[in-house]
């Protein structure tokens, strides 16, 4: 039993590992064909990683970025779930917000950088606002999709078996929507990172976006690569984290 479950877990992980190692080998080989200043190799990047990790510089950037992304993601996630549930569940609310939503769908979050910066300054607030905007939208749309996807028989059964509006909302609509909310939160986190980098490139003193953008001034391509690598790694870990937390805390709501 434990053998087979170890195998089940082990096989995909092993295949995943092959892709990572293969990618690194390809990278190293490709970099050998170019000037190291333009295209640093995997080993160059590893070197700068150790230097930056030991000096503590890297962790400051990661920490600053993570704090911003998490604040915006948490706020946007909460807002997106609440808005999505309300808009999708109540017809008048939906009719009211529908045109606004369709309008805003075509205004990418990045377009809001300038007004947000003018209103809230170049500090943390405008960055978190921008991330919140990007996340809210994605979570809201997915939550709405989840509400619309509820099998009509589930709602009919609830009415038949004596549930009122509030009971249906809390004990049918909300739990039935959880898988879609999780998807929204995962995609939303990706959006959050996108907004984060955009905001940090424009105005900041620290963070991975700042690291990537400023390093171009010194042609420090190895630092740029380190920033990109850190970004992907941090995002990947966060995504696995979200999945693990939901599986543990809300596992029963993720069943088919």
């Amino acid at each position: 039993m434990s053998d087979s479950s170890a195998l089940r877990l082990g096989r995909p992980a092993a295949i995943g590992l092959i892709s990572i190692v293969g990618g690194l080998v390809l990278w190293q080989a490709a970099a050998a064909a170019f000037d190291n200043v333009l295209f640093p190799s995997a080993t160059d990047t590893l070197q700068i990683f150790f230097a930056q990790a030991l000096s503590g510089e890297l962790w400051i950037h990661i920490g600053a970025s993570l704090a911003r992304v998490f604040a915006g993601w948490a706020a946007g996630g909460l807002l997106g779930v609440v808005l999505g549930l309300l808009i999708a569940s109540f017809r008048p609310v939906r009719d009211f917000f529908e045109p606004t939503i369709q309008f805003l769908r075509f205004v990418p979050a990045i377009a809001w950088i300038t007004p947000f910066t003018i209103w809230a300054g170049v500090g943390e607030v405008s960055k978190v606002m921008l991330i919140t905007y990007g996340v809210t939208f994605m979570v809201m749309l997915n939550t709405m999709t989840g509400v619309f996807a509820i099998a009509p028989n589930k709602l009919r059964a609830a009415r038949c078996f004596g549930a009122g509006h509030a009971h249906i909302f809390l004990y049918v609509t909300l739990p039935a929507t959880v898988p879609f909310i999780v998807t929204g939160l995962r995609i939303g986190l990706g959006n959050g990172f996108m907004m984060l980098i955009a905001a940090e490139m424009l105005a900041s003193d620290e963070g991975l976006g700042f690291l990537i953008f400023t390093s171009r001034l010194y042609m420090a391509t190895d630092l740029i690569f380190l920033g990109i690598l850190a970004l992907g790694t941090v995002g990947l870990i966060c995504d696995y984290g979200i999945q693990a937390v939901f599986k543990r805390g809300f596992g029963r709501y993720l069943r088919a």
Binding site: N153, C160, G162, A176
Partner: protein
């Protein structure tokens, strides 16, 4: 012969009085047209008809999911206005179960909505879960159950309500033949014990003969009515190999085939 022909003989628990139904406005075709039906207290009534004839619509009207465009649906003399536990529905599909709730939580949904304590809910559900062999599975989730077990969960979810009438919409239609036959016998046994009033929809003639006190045969749509009500006077428990079973089957088959042919001709 009219469905309400024996109206004076007993006071029906469920009655459809001149019920018509269509989706939408004036131009929409009638699904049901002037349907009359009377189901007695404790009766097992099966409604049978060609596909698309509005059997499920009739059930939805009684459940309160839809409202008659004309006429009245009465239960115990009161018009149906909205869904309620006194008319518990066993749905055709398993998608009416809640995958995030365990078997016991699913079957006690109505008790929870009514505000009963966890202990009381457990106490009420236990005998019914035992009755259909689900007691050992009460902590499982629907995704861990077979199709037959899921329909047993639906049955128990309805039985715990102690309803006036159970509404069953082709509950065994999606099951394999073997499981269907087991569940039919199980339902017959349960009904012989509790004699709850049942409106049962099916297009399976053998199922109708096995279970029904009376079978209402519907005409092919649109503008369906109940064209004839056939009493099934076979002793219970019934056996599919009884010659009288075959005779009743033949009679219903004749009536139904006529309608199915008509539906096909109209379709051309």
């Amino acid at each position: 012969m009219s469905a309400t022909g024996d109206e004076g003989a007993f006071r029906p628990l469920v009655s459809f009085v001149d019920v018509s139904f269509r989706f939408g406005g004036r131009d929409a075709p009638w699904i049901l047209r002037s349907v009359d039906l009377a189901i007695g207290r404790g009766e097992f009534f099966v409604l049978i008809g060609p596909s698309g004839c509005g059997k499920t619509t009739a059930l939805n009207l009684l459940a309160g999911f839809e409202h008659p465009s004309a006429g009245q649906v009465l239960v115990d003399g009161e018009p149906v206005v909205e869904p309620g536990v006194e008319r518990a529905v066993i749905f055709q599909g398993e998608d009416s179960l809640y995958p995030w709730l365990t078997v016991e939580e699913n079957v006690t949904f109505s008790l929870r909505a009514a505000g009963l304590s966890r202990r009381e809910r457990h106490r009420r559900a236990r005998p019914f879960l035992q009755m259909v062999g689900l007691a050992g599975h009460r902590h499982k989730y629907p995704s861990e159950l077979s199709g037959g077990m899921k329909q047993r969960v639906q049955l128990v979810r309805a039985l715990v309500c102690d309803s006036l009438v159970l509404l069953m919409d082709e509950p065994f239609g999606a099951l394999d033949a073997q499981t269907r036959s087991v569940l039919q016998d199980e339902l017959a046994r349960i009904w012989e014990n509790n004699r709850v009033t049942i409106l049962f929809i099916t297009h399976d003639i053998a199922e109708a003969v096995l279970l029904a006190d009376r079978v209402g045969v519907m005409t092919a749509g649109p503008e369906s009515i109940i064209k004839q009500v056939v009493p099934i006077d076979l002793p219970r428990p019934r056996s599919r190999s009884d010659p009288a079973f075959g005779a009743a089957y033949g009679q219903l088959n004749e009536l139904l085939a006529e309608e199915s042919r008509r539906a096909l001709m109209d379709g051309q």
